[in-house]
């Protein structure tokens, strides 16, 4: 047994070397901390930030809390977030209930439609709905005005409620996924008991089903409010041009003032810090409500087969509802985008306009810019998901498998990006690039800064998904490999990765799609050199080139279709890992 050696003394002060996974896992945690710290640091400064000519004060906070404009923006944001949740639940909740609790036919198809709904970015819906219902250029408005001889446009989506409606359309898929879980986890015998004791269908629904589902639904509401408060893309696409501001677009305005105003980074940072506090509070609340919800989940045995409510002819109504949702949230906006991509200017669809369809927008767009955007986007799409998977695997492994004291910190740390709005991470990264590493690392304006934020932003989801899969892999499978002499890294490669493959694959595709379409961070951080395809769409749109923006959007959609099909094909077999 010569292989068993006493460690040399120099090494033996440490009884056990930290696992290589721990070292990797701590890296993104450090980055998150740095981002938050930078934000806070800048929020305390007035004057020329990062130089000697600066004073440290709380004045930035005094300014934002004393500003009536900030007050109006906050009210806008609250209305927007609440109407988002209202519309998302109005659509998502009934569909979830029908899918999980009734005999509606074609459930796999419903799941596919809703999953696709998750994948179609909010900006597409927003652009499409601008073409439909914008007070000036919306076709619907123009038709209604012509039809009834109205004075002004009857529908206005450039309001907090209107934007909330569009955002709600795009979040309803998420509302569906979240509430479907609630209905699925609910013990059907509780409902049956009510029916047996003589309560009618509606009585049972109102008295038993909904109250039981309430904690889960409340958790979903808080989750979506958190998203709504910090959403940037839809308020930017619809609201910025009409001077309706939300907190996120306010932050953008301060960091990227129009014309040639000076950026007010101190204000931006203090607003960011404020938003972090709100988001963290909401997220803690969310966690608490979720835990309470689990109290109602009576554990069901193997023979668990919920009795489903017979829908009969109402199934057609149900499907009508689903198809109508798909039409107004996905099909119509995409059709209008495609139409706008081929028209020289914006006009309601008509026979006359059909004659004018051409490739003119494709001649007008700056192909050199597109190619640069494509290059950057491809780079991000290739690199970011891989890095995300490496980091989140290491974090998950430490959290689930090791006894390291770090695991609690890592578990919380990986959850943090989930609470930190992307806008805020983008601002943090912007300030980091400008004021902290700017002198020695040309990170600002490079695509790597964007990549860094993408990685952090996607960690929470990936880590959760891998955590739950890793928990299902028996610990002894791994230990058998160690005992048989395989190193930690080799064990992961030979044993864990193959066993985790379905999860890793779906996390990978999902991350890829989200990175591909990501707009918020890119808009904040992209420079002329590091611009991405969504940022190009944004710059055309913001600069008034709506047809060009539609043309690029169409290109992007066509390019990603194969990946979406792969995801859909794959998602049919393994359920999308839930957040």
């Amino acid at each position: 047994m010569q292989e068993v050696l006493r460690l040399p003394r120099a090494l033996s002060t440490r009884v056990k070397m930290p696992s290589p996974f721990l070292l990797v896992a701590l890296l993104p945690m450090g980055l998150i901390l740095i981002l938050v710290a930078v934000l806070f640091w800048v929020s305390l400064q007035r004057g020329v930030i990062g130089t000697a000519a600066v004073t440290y004060t709380w004045e930035n906070y005094a300014v934002i809390f004393g500003d009536p404009f900030v007050y109006r923006v906050s009210v806008n944001t609250a209305i927007f977030a609440l109407s988002t949740v209202f519309f998302a639940l109005l659509i998502g909740l009934p569909i979830a209930w029908m899918t999980e609790r009734t005999t509606i036919p074609g459930k796999v198809a419903i799941y596919s439609i809703m999953t696709l709904g998750l994948l179609i970015p909010g900006i597409y819906t927003a652009m499409g709905w601008t073409f439909i219902a914008h007070p000036r250029i919306g076709f619907l408005n123009q038709w209604l005005v012509d039809l009834f001889g109205l004075e002004s446009a009857p529908i206005n989506i450039a309001t907090p409620v209107g934007m909330g409606f569009v955002q709600g359309l795009s979040l309803s898929a998420l509302a569906f996924i979240l509430t479907a879980q609630v209905f699925r986890a609910m013990n059907p015998s509780l409902e049956e008991a009510a029916t047996v004791h003589g309560m009618g269908f509606l009585g049972t629904l109102w008295r038993i089903t909904l109250p039981l589902a309430l904690p889960g639904i409340l958790a979903a509401i808080i989750y979506m409010v958190t998203i709504g408060i910090a959403t940037f893309d839809i308020p930017a696409i619809i609201g910025l041009g009409n001077r309706i501001y939300m907190l996120s677009t306010f932050v953008y305005l301060k960091a990227h003032p129009p014309d040639s105003g000076l950026p007010e980074y101190g204000i931006t940072a203090s607003m960011g810090t404020f938003m972090i506090s709100v988001a963290v509070l909401l997220t803690c609340w969310y966690g608490r409500v979720l835990r309470q919800g689990h109290r109602f989940e009576v554990v069901t045995g193997k023979g668990y087969r919920p009795t489903l409510i017979e829908l009969g002819g109402w199934g057609i109504v149900g499907w009508g509802f689903i198809l109508f949702y798909a039409l107004i949230s996905k099909v119509l906006p995409l059709l209008l985008l495609a139409y706008a991509a081929f028209t020289p200017y914006l006009a309601p669809p008509s026979w006359k306009m059909m004659g004018q369809l051409s490739l003119v927008n494709y001649y007008n767009i700056d192909w050199e810019l597109i190619m640069r955007g494509l290059k950057n986007t491809v780079l991000l799409v290739v690199v970011v998901p891989v890095v995300v998977m490496v980091f989140s695997f290491c974090i998950s492994w430490v959290v689930v498998r090791s006894r390291s004291q770090w695991r609690y910190i890592l578990d919380f740390g990986a959850f943090l990006p989930h609470a930190l709005p992307e806008v805020i991470m983008a601002v943090g990264a912007l300030l980091l690039g400008l004021f902290v590493v700017g002198n020695f690392l040309p990170l600002y304006g490079s695509v790597w800064l964007i990549a860094m934020v993408y990685v952090i932003a996607r960690l929470a989801f990936a880590t959760r998904a891998i955590n739950s899969s890793l928990l299902q892999i028996h610990r002894e499978l791994e230990e058998a490999a160690y005992a048989a002499g395989l190193s930690t890294v080799r064990t992961s490669w030979r044993i864990l990765f193959p066993l985790l493959r379905p999860t890793l694959l779906s996390v990978w595709i999902w991350t890829t799609l989200l990175v591909y379409r990501e707009l918020t961070v890119a808009v904040f951080l992209a420079s002329h050199q590091s611009i991405t395809l969504p940022a190009i769409i944004w710059s055309y749109w913001f600069g008034g080139g709506r047809n060009e923006a539609a043309a690029v959007t169409l290109l992007m959609t066509v390019a990603v279709t194969p990946l979406i099909l792969v995801f859909w094909w794959f998602g049919r077999r393994s359920v999308l890992p839930s957040q």
């Binding site: 292989e3 050696l5 002894e476 230990e479 160690y482 048989a484 395989l486």
Partner: protein, 377 residues
């Protein structure tokens, strides 16, 4: 082969520490089949995992083949991979995405104990032959029965190292009949290969049947270590006696060096004790013999009333009442009965005597316990 000194292991749990192992000493010599038994939660698995290097001890020293593999002074740690042993897990841990062949071959190809490429095949075949799995080599591991998975796990362990094998309840997932068959095979195989085996189980019959030496654990401590016969017949404390089979317990007091006063009368014992000492007496059900000829025996005769009896095929289990005390006996035939009265005897050599001040020893004498004994037989 394995030497454990002063080993302790604490787990940090919410709300404090759990001491899973408390200053444990174990010596396993080369070629020995060493079984660790104990009730659930007594720390058997923890001990095995410490030896395997899957758990970091809080204190103490472990040596394998005279090499320190884990110690707190000077701090030394050899990771699992370099400790060179084969291990069979309770869940078998057969890698489900690989074939039977690859399960055995992977450690030989890529582990710390890898062998030259051209020898892998031969080693794998040899190990599979030993467990009679060579025909199923190309089968996917997910398509195996429990017994077959168990054999693959064993083959993998042997292939890595047949010198030292660690097993954690390898039979607990098999059904009773198969378990009996396999335990004979494992012992045979270990002896054939000359392996040193450290084997964990909670089943005292399994321990008796397989071991050269048994260590009984309780609450992280070793109660007694010895050959099976020794533990059964000469337990050093009441808990040990209790663990390896049911016992009729009585409280008593010594009145002479070898004579005790008990609730069922005076009993002669073999082991001398100081007169006046409070003691705990016990004898096993099968040690109660039936007196055919009353005149031939004078000592330790019990006049009893026969209670219920159960026929188990190879023997009867019956209960008797002696002066309000319920005792349980075991015999091939039922005692002959005279109007419900029977005459029984306990040999002084079969009476186990323990000091009564042993606090834990008293636990076995709780009233519920003796009643439970009566029904358990």
């Amino acid at each position: 082969m394995i030497s454990v000194r002063n080993l302790s292991k604490d787990f940090l749990v919410s709300g404090g520490k759990v001491a899973a192992l408390r200053n444990l000493d174990v010596e396993v010599s080369e070629g020995e089949f060493f079984v660790i038994v104990g009730a659930s939660g007594s720390g058997k698995t923890t001990l095995l995992r410490c030896v395997a290097g899957l758990e970091v001890p809080s204190g103490g020293e472990i040596r394998i083949a005279d090499q320190v593999v884990s110690s707190d002074n000077p701090p030394t740690w050899i990771p699992s991979q370099q400790r060179r042993f084969g291990m069979v897990f309770q869940s078998y841990a057969v890698w489900p995405h690989l074939t039977v062949y690859d399960n055995v071959a992977l450690p030989l190809r890529e582990g710390a104990q890898r062998v030259p490429r051209n020898q892998v095949e031969a080693r794998v075949r040899e190990a599979l032959c030993l467990v009679q799995m060579e025909k199923l080599a190309e089968r996917s591991a997910t398509l195996l029965s429990g017994g077959q998975q168990q054999r693959v796990a064993l083959a993998r362990a042997i292939a890595v190292s047949s010198k030292l094998l660690l097993m954690d309840e390898p039979l607990s997932n098999l059904d009773a009949r198969l378990r009996e068959e396999v335990r004979g095979k494992i012992r045979e195989l270990a002896k054939h290969l000359g392996s040193t085996v450290l084997y964990v189980t909670h089943d005292q019959v399994e321990a008796m049947a397989m071991s050269d030496k048994i260590a009984l654990m309780q609450l992280g401590e070793l109660l007694q270590v010895g050959a099976p016969m020794e533990l059964y017949h000469h337990p050093n404390r009441a808990e040990v006696a209790e663990f390896f089979g049911s016992v009729n317990w009585l409280r008593g007091r010594m009145i002479q060096a070898c004579l005790a006063e008990t609730p069922i009368g005076r009993l002669e014992v073999q082991k001398p004790a100081a007169p006046g000492e409070e003691i705990l007496l016990g004898f096993r059900p099968e040690c109660i013999s039936i007196v055919e000829d009353r005149s031939a025996t004078k000592t330790n005769v019990l006049q009893a009333t026969l209670g219920s009896s159960t026929f188990l095929g190879d023997q009867f289990v019956y209960s008797v009442v002696v002066q309000d005390r319920l005792l349980v006996g075991k015999n091939r035939t039922l005692p002959r009965c005279n109007k419900g009265e029977v005459c029984l005897r306990v040999d002084p050599a079969d009476v186990m005597v323990f000091p009564a001040d042993n606090k834990r020893g008293m636990a076995v004498l709780e009233p519920e316990h003796s009643r439970a004994l009566g029904t358990a037989g």
